[in-house]
Symmetry: C2
Subunit: 232 residues, 2 copies
DNA sequence: GAGTGGTCTAGACCACCTC
DNA sequence: AGGTGGTCTAGACCACTCT
């Protein structure tokens, strides 16, 4: 109808997006198949596929074989967070990074951590407590449980290098879960971060596994004023 | 060398991932070009491209024309958060959703919100304050500033439908920023959520624009115990 | 069973960037 | 200037799932 062929899969993605926005294809509607769109846009089906797959990944479209491609009823926003190493996070803010180890003992894993890691009861793991500084100000208190098995023969000095960095360098690309919440500072956290008891802290809890075994569970308590920001 | 051709781009992605994990290709190293890998894996270059592009999107590889493909020095973790409509979030927890409008006035936009939205000083916007309930328990207090221009002729009754849902249905697919933090409950928040002053609250601040204009800025204060969870 | 998206191929051209 | 990834094509087969 309209005429000119679109150039490149991004142009096709934008055109599809436009039609959704102006309700030419309303929420829940099934849009034409890839073959039909390829004809209309004057391109190969693979190019249409690339564009639609991108929009599906963004949560705008829902695609199912045989059923076709539909506009999502409730457009789900997907925000991507980039989780960097603590040192990078501090230095990216233009501040000097510092690190101190507060505790390093082999202890029985508490039930709450056992549950998060899916461990059998009664294991003893390495328990590390440390503080990360930004310009000499406490930035994060880190409370980590570490599977001693993954250390193997290596004997890193966690007084010098943070477990965070050692893990990234030696056990990279592991999978896991991550959770964000807010809690009032407990006694230990208040002490480590130099704030009053009950101060609202931003909490990040991460648990990671390799295919074979649980690796670590860590609770990061960020000092007051911390914001985790991204674009949608 | 090894022999058997790999089947499918996911198998290739996994094989590349394996070589990175076992340090066959260490951090910062340049891996063979697409053409070479296509020969080795016994597939078309496009298939290798698909696999490598996926890993680049995951933050494992870095790709530049002419320079080639390199293993990222610091593997950046990318976590994807799905931001749903409040009603869905509550109902997904198996609880009954409720909503109450506490305030609805046209007021001068405060400086902090002006800054977040990039507005010129002195505008008057719609200011909506509401509470979302889960099983009759206050779940979130919502404090929203809304550009009156985008309402147009529409006159939604924000006493019945939350601004959240109205916006998703009528001004979908806008871009914006999102930030997470933790603060102690102020007087208004404590009252709305039925908690003590200073209770640690999980805060989500979102600001959204269309290509043409700023739409809305909202601050969501979640009640105690809220966790935002995802996988990496 | 049939129609849809998912993927692969072999070849080609191009944009970009490093050398 | 040349090599690399980025993309497109035309065709094909496959996997899934709705009817």
């Amino acid at each position: 109808m309209t005429g000119a062929a679109l150039n490149g899969w991004e142009a096709i993605r934008d055109e599809v997006m436009r039609r959704i926005r102006v309700r030419e294809w309303g929420p829940g509607a099934t849009i034409p198949g890839e073959a039909a769109l390829a004809v209309e846009f004057g391109c190969a089906r693979a190019t249409v596929n690339r564009a639609l797959r991108d929009l599906a990944g963004a949560g705008v479209l829902e695609r199912r074989r045989k059923a076709g491609t539909r506009v999502m009823l409730h457009p789900v926003r997907r925000a991507t967070l980039e989780i960097a190493v603590m040192r990078q996070e501090v230095e990216a803010r233009g501040q000097r990074y510092g690190y101190a180890l507060l505790g390093d003992r082999v202890e029985r894993v508490p039930p709450a951590v056992e549950a998060a890691l899916g461990l059998l009861p009664g294991r003893t793991w390495r328990h590390l407590v440390s503080v990360h500084f930004a310009d000499s100000i406490p930035f994060v208190r880190e409370d980590r449980w570490l599977n001693p098995a993954i250390l193997g023969d290596a004997a890193p000095d966690f007084g010098t290098i943070s477990a965070n960095e050692w893990l990234v360098a030696n056990v990279p690309y592991a999978a896991g879960t991550i959770a964000f919440s807010a809690v009032g500072a407990g006694a230990e956290e208040a002490l480590a971060l130099d704030v009053a008891d009950g101060t609202a802290l931003f909490i990040v809890e991460r648990t990671t596994w390799t295919a074979e075994a649980a690796i670590t569970s860590v609770r990061l308590a960020y000092g007051p004023g911390y914001r985790l920001q991204t674009t949608v």
